[in-house]
Symmetry: C2
Subunit: 93 residues, 2 copies
C-alpha cells in the first residue's frame, strides 16, 4: 500500500512504499532549505534536479546532481537546500 | 508548488512539480495493471523496481528495469504492470 507524506507545509512531499521488506520513498523537495532527522540510515538518490546537502556535524555543503546519491547515518540528520524543485528516491537501509 | 496526485484508489500516486517551465512528476506504481492516456508526450524513467509496458496499439509487453526509460507519444497511451511497487520519474516533453 502506498502512503503519501507531506512535510514543511507541503514543500517536501513523498510517496512511501515497501518492496522485498525494504522501505522506500519517492519524493520531491521544493525550493528552500529544510532539516531532516534520520531514524534508520538512508540512501538518497537524486533523480531530477540537484540537492545541496550538509550532513549533521559538518560545516560543508556538498552538491548532489541528478544521478548521484549520498548516505545518511542512523540517528543523525542533514540539511538540504534545493534551488529548483528536485526529485529523489530514499531507501531506508 | 508541489501537487499530490492519486489514481486507481491510491494504487498510483505521484508528486507533481515544475522546473524551468517543464512539468514533471515523481511517483510510485503499486502491484497491478493500469492504463494511462497521454495528453502531452512523456518520458518515463524507472527509478526503482521494474515496469512492464505495452504501448497503445502494440501487443508486446516490454520490461523497463530501474535505470531505464521509455517515451510515450502525445494523445496516445500505455498499459503498465508492476509485479512489485516501483518508482518512476515522468517528464512531460
Amino acid at each position: 500500500m502506498l502512503k503519501h507524506n507531506s512535510y514543511f507545509e507541503g514543500k517536501v512531499q513523498s510517496v512511501g512504499f515497501e518492496r522485498n521488506g525494504r522501505k522506500l520513498t519517492a519524493g520531491v523537495i521544493d525550493v528552500g532549505e529544510f532539516h531532516f532527522n534520520t531514524d534508520a540510515a538512508e540512501r538518497m538518490t537524486v533523480t531530477s534536479g540537484e540537492l545541496l546537502i550538509r550532513l549533521a556535524g559538518k560545516s560543508e555543503w556538498r552538491s548532489y546532481p541528478a544521478g548521484t546519491a549520498f548516505e545518511v547515518a542512523a540517528k543523525s540528520g542533514f540539511d538540504v537546500k534545493a534551488e529548483g524543485p528536485s526529485a529523489y528516491l530514499c531507501e531506508f537501509l
